[in-house]
């Protein structure tokens, strides 16, 4: 099993300068399903941000596919990011693109797919994520649980090897949370030896849905197995 994500004595600060992650050391390999319980939303958000390379570590390093993300230039980091599906809690969609265009965007930008083929693939992904609304609507007025479905479809668009997900269940009804969690677990199980799923949850009851191989938790700012 190859190590895909590795934290070595990683520390980072929140926007207001408080140390939210302190000397975190852990590695996550292909084939694993990992749940990290973080009652503190900021720690979970910063952990996903560290892996994505948008939160710079103040100490230590974070390696993605063996490369230190804080030292990479944009193009190399961008290439690595196409192999990871990120799902942030706030589920941000591009406001001037229609729902289906949001899902098709990574496909059309990073692959040689035509616009029409990208739309076809995006429609299938939206169906898979349980999106039942108007695909040509702008995403602005969509409620959080619907935006999360669109974000799940978008995160899986490039068939990433790693999926990093922040509190998918937060703000959702139990049924909705179960549907999306099952979808992500199924996605990981489809190529179980190859794909890594890292999910943060804000309480351990949400972790049951994931049936994880490994459980970690934040105790204050420390990440413990």
């Amino acid at each position: 099993m190859a190590v895909l994500v590795e934290l070595k004595n990683t520390s980072c600060l929140s926007d207001d300068g408080i140390k939210v992650i302190e000397s975190a050391t852990s590695s996550f390999s292909s084939g694993q399903r990992v749940v990290i319980t973080a009652s503190n939303d900021t720690a979970a958000n910063n952990l996903v941000g560290l892996i994505a390379g948008i939160v710079p570590p103040v100490a230590g390093s974070i390696r993605l596919f063996g490369k230190d993300v804080s030292t990479l230039d944009f193009d190399v980091l961008a290439e690595l990011r196409t192999r990871v599906g990120f799902l942030f809690h706030d589920s941000v969609l591009v406001s001037n693109l229609k729902v289906i265009e949001n899902v098709a965007l990574p496909l059309i930008y990073h692959s040689e797919l035509t616009y029409e083929k990208g739309m076809e693939r995006a429609q299938k992904l939206l169906d898979l994520a349980g999106y039942r609304g108007e695909v040509w609507a702008l995403p602005g007025p969509l409620p959080l649980h619907v935006r999360k479905k669109v974000c799940v479809a978008r995160a899986l668009a490039l068939a990433p090897q790693v999926v990093v997900c922040e509190n998918i269940a937060s703000g959702l009804a139990h049924d909705e949370a179960m549907l999306l969690t099952e979808l992500l677990v199924e996605y990981q199980e489809r190529r179980a030896g190859d794909r890594l799923l890292i999910m943060t949850v804000d309480n351990s009851s949400d972790a049951v849905l994931v049936k994880p191989d490994r459980r970690l938790r934040f105790e204050g700012s420390h990440l413990v197995e």
Binding site: I54, A78, T82, F86, F88, V94, S95, Y109, H110, Y115
Partner: protein, 265 residues
Amino acid sequence: MDIFTNLGSVAIGRALSLSAVWSTIALSLSSLLFRFYVGRRATFQVLLKQVYFTGYQAIPIISWIALILGIIVLTQLLSILPGLGGERLIGDILVWVVIREVGPLLAAVVVIARSGTAIASELGTMRIAKQLTALEVMGIDPVHYLVMPRVIGTAISTFVLTFYFEVIAILGGYLLAGFGKNITFSIYMSSILGSMGLLEIVVSVLKSILFGLVIGAVCTSSGLRVGSSITEVPQATTKAVIGSLAAIFVIDALITTLFFIRLGL
């Protein structure tokens, strides 16, 4: 001492804004030339939308302004010049006013009012909503995907609108103000074509492209400088309009001075 400190900080602020504008233009051009194939289908869609919004949708308002300008200038010329025996100057004056100066300037002002404001407020709102970060984590460069198509799209649109403005002002002005007067269409057109040299065309093209690039760069960089508060969006939009207007008038003066005073033309 305070006066010097204030002057210094104002000068530094202006210099930083100016360098942000030029670096935005440089980044957009290098992105277009050297990263053309990166996400080309997606960026081309953004470019097309920008040209549609800035260029195509501005045609009705540009047509009205051009027609009214053509009528005003031609009415004034036809009321003054025949009395002075200077009918042959009609072509010269129309070329000086419409092609060299007012055409590029008014087309740019319409682009600022319609699209510059939209670009600055849209990018400011996207930045506050963390949509730029969302693009980054998908491996999409916001400069290549958002900034470059807007800057290049604005430049293309301003160039086309300027050409369209000049044609409508000259032809429409004659049809509405000159038709039936003591000047035939063939004399009118030969007077204009006789007054228009390569230099007039080069200057008009140069101005329109530069105006478009600068408007796109000022407005995108104003939008991207928004911090985290929604109240910064209208401030950024105002700065974008004022900055773009100031820039196009300064560039217009520089080009006119360079081509028509220094060369003595």
